[in-house]
């Protein structure tokens, strides 16, 4: 998502969806409803009056840093913590007072929490045996489930004899075998290395689609959230700051926090000069220029706002481009060659630093710019976002 995207994004999302997703349909019944839920530990408020609707077959990601309250929220859904106030309804049933072992919910733990004294098959069978399912059915369903996660041949192994990726799949199989209505995943890919993580992400999506289970995933990894989620809820200090589809969270962050938390961003402080019908004019001493944004939130003249521009939306060039608006000048201070793209740190005359990324279309691409080059940085009116919060 650091590569530049074709323009006209706002329309493409809607056009690509053949049918409106549930969360965009008026009056759709949510599968999981979180109503004004607050959780306090002594003086500390971990979750602060959160309301959230999650629909059937969604793969919803709660994204946030450590201490943002995302795990506490997940644990309340599982029943390990009870809300200080507010209600949680799953499929219309209030979960208050329902113990973890009686909830139609299963969880995949961050540490996987595989029982070290039981074999892989016994781990997976654990939940079914508690339900009093007949032995032959347990055997059959376990075999089926292990095949689904491609571990059919490892049923007799103990967890410590498995690799990280295999353990992750055992944990998933164990959580899914009871056919929960809602599966909670706590940092499901956190313990895997990068390559394995990428593979597993798609596997997880396939399984979710195949079984039609509603997933709620907690993660601190924005890339993971972007790849997996149907929608993302960005959390900070116990509050959900923004709930949107991944694309919208990235392209239309509603606050400086979200803009900075997901991907990297250049922020320019400025004052609204004019709110024209089709665009806003912002005077930004920090950018050393007048900036134009052609969409977004309505704001009052004289209001102090931030203009956010993603590094990959900025075009970098030696020659003055034809474009007049949204162009600033600076000097390249540092270049980092990252293979697929190069990152430039450009210093503006007023001292402000701007990050620009440029995909390396050709091999010699990286050589075109060098240290201390005077460059022009330009972006389209619709590539930037005005942030008031």
């Amino acid at each position: 998502m650091t590569s530049s995207q074709p323009i006209d994004l706002q329309n493409s999302t809607i056009a690509s969806a053949s049918q409106q997703p549930l969360w965009k349909q008026e009056g759709a019944e949510p599968f999981l409803r979180i109503e004004n839920v607050t959780k306090k530990f002594d003086d500390f408020t971990a979750v602060d009056n959160i309301s959230l609707d999650i629909y059937k077959n969604e793969l919803f990601c709660l994204l946030g840093g450590s201490g943002s309250g995302k795990s506490t929220l997940l644990r309340m859904l599982a029943g390990f913590e009870s809300p200080t106030s507010g209600r949680i309804l799953i499929d219309g049933i209030d979960m208050a007072g329902i113990q973890p072992w009686n909830r139609p919910v299963n969880m995949m733990f961050q540490s996987y929490a595989l029982f070290p004294h039981l074999s892989v098959a016994d781990n997976v069978a654990f939940g079914l045996k508690r339900e009093g399912v007949s032995r032959s059915e347990v055997k059959q369903r376990v075999a089926q489930m292990l095949d689904m996660v491609q571990l059919g041949h490892l049923g007799k192994r103990k967890p410590h004899q498995l690799s990280g990726g295999q353990r992750q799949r055992v944990a998933l199989a164990r959580a899914l075998i009871k056919r929960p209505k809602l599966l909670l995943l706590d940092e499901p890919l956190g313990a895997l290395d990068k390559k394995l993580r990428e593979e597993t992400q798609f596997e997880l999506i396939n399984i979710q689609e195949e079984l039609g289970v509603t997933f709620v995933v907690v993660t601190h990894d924005q890339e993971e959230a972007m790849t997996l989620a149907t929608r993302i809820g960005v959390m900070n200090h116990g509050v959900i700051v923004q709930t949107d589809e991944p694309h919208d969270v990235y392209e239309y962050p509603n606050s400086r926090f979200v803009a900075e938390f997901i991907g990297s961003v250049n922020l320019f402080e400025g004052k609204v000069i004019e709110d024209e019908p089709d665009r806003v004019r912002i005077e930004s001493p920090e950018a050393g220029a007048t900036l134009y944004v052609n969409h977004g939130i309505s704001c009052a003249p004289e209001q102090i706002v931030h203009v956010a521009v993603r590094p990959e939306k900025i075009k970098i060039s030696h020659n003055r481009p034809q474009q007049q608006d949204n162009c600033i000048q600076g000097e390249i201070e540092d270049i980092a060659y990252m293979g697929s793209l190069s990152v430039f740190r450009v210093r503006l005359p007023n001292g402000k630093e701007v990050r620009v990324t440029q995909p390396n279309f050709t091999r010699s691409m990286g050589d075109r710019f060098t240290w201390n080059d005077k460059v022009f940085l330009c972006w389209d009116e619709e590539s930037s976002v005005v942030l008031t919060a």
């Binding site: 029943g79 390990f80 113990q99 072992w101 969880m107 929490a113 029982f115 508690r130 339900e131």
Partner: protein, 318 residues
């Protein structure tokens, strides 16, 4: 406190090639460092067993020291006679008293070990679940009595269990009983003494097993449909097994050979082999018999347990 988790420690010490290997070149230095403790243990720990074995094959005699010599020189006839007396061992087999003593030692030790486990488990569990500062305090509270005199702690129980002791007075004052219970000088008192004395030896290995347990395992079990009581038996208990074994061995082995507790708290009919050995030696002054009792105790009780433990240690390191 480290000694209390000694079972674990003993296994820990794996032999690795290390940096001090080069000391091989300065061979005399290394040899000296090895030789001093090794010689000390050879002379004062290993050879004594050979002496005990030798004396167990001699006869009691009214002499100083009170046993017969195995080798006799007859200078005139130029005869060297070696007399091995297996009578002591035969007597051990013949007289049911000794067999009873061994069996009853094992029974008393086993029963006490079981009670110790029952009492220690909740304590260990609570300590393992406690937060940092509180955990250190609770651990210290468990270990603290261990640093005070064992003899005096056993003595404290005498004051507790006597006919007109505190327990009886309390029970009678509250009207639960109207006749004082006979508690001192019974097997019951011996159980209490052993449980009391060896409790830390059980708590610490249990604690270190439970402490290692990942709490999310219990949450996972509940998430999969276990009630707390089920998750205790399905998860906590199986995972505590290494701690349970280590703790039981640490209590059982010394309890079998215990002398002070049956001597002070037990009745005259409380048969324990440590006490039999003591009486053979100090009261009957039958040193060869005492030696035979010791050798049998060593072979029948101590060696097998040490071998089991060694085997376990090897399995763990594999």
């Amino acid at each position: 406190m480290s000694i209390l988790s000694r079972a674990a420690l003993i296994h820990d010490a794996s032999s690795r090639m290390t940096k001090y290997d080069f000391i091989r070149r300065v061979n005399w230095g290394k040899t000296a460092v090895v030789a001093v403790p090794a010689l000390w243990l050879a002379v004062f720990f290993f050879i004594p067993f050979l002496v005990v074995f030798k004396i167990s094959l001699s006869e009691a005699a009214i002499a100083v020291p009170p046993y017969s010599a195995l080798l006799e020189w007859d200078l005139e006839e130029a005869y060297l006679t070696l007399k091995l007396n297996i009578g002591n061992y035969l007597y051990l087999l013949e007289d049911a008293f000794y067999l009873d003593a061994y069996l009853s030692s094992i029974r008393i030790a086993a029963v006490s070990t079981f009670y110790t486990l029952i009492l220690a488990f909740p304590i260990a569990y609570m300590i393992a679940r406690a937060e940092g500062g509180k955990r250190a305090l609770l651990l210290a509270l468990v270990i603290l009595p261990f640093w005070t005199s064992f003899l005096l702690r056993v003595y404290a129980w005498m004051g507790f269990l006597k006919k007109n002791g505190i327990v009886n007075e309390f029970l009678m004052a509250t009207g639960i009983i109207d006749q004082p219970l006979v508690m001192l000088q019974t097997d019951f008192a011996v159980y209490i003494g052993i449980v009391y004395t060896y409790l830390p030896f059980m708590v610490l290995p249990l604690y270190s097993a439970l402490e290692k347990m990942d709490m999310t395992l219990l949450e996972a079990a509940e998430d999969l449909g276990c009630r707390p009581i089920q998750s205790f038996f399905l998860i906590t208990l199986p995972l505590a097994v290494p701690g349970i074994i280590a703790g039981c061995l640490l209590v059982f082995i010394p309890a079998v050979g215990e002398f002070v507790i049956p001597a002070l708290l037990g009745g005259s009919d409380t048969l324990m082999i440590g006490r039999v050995l003591w009486d053979e030696f100090f009261l009957n002054r039958d040193w060869p018999m005492a030696s035979a009792v010791a050798i049998v105790m060593l072979i029948v009780l101590v060696l097998p347990i040490m071998l089991i433990r060694n085997g376990q240690g090897k399995e763990e390191t594999v």
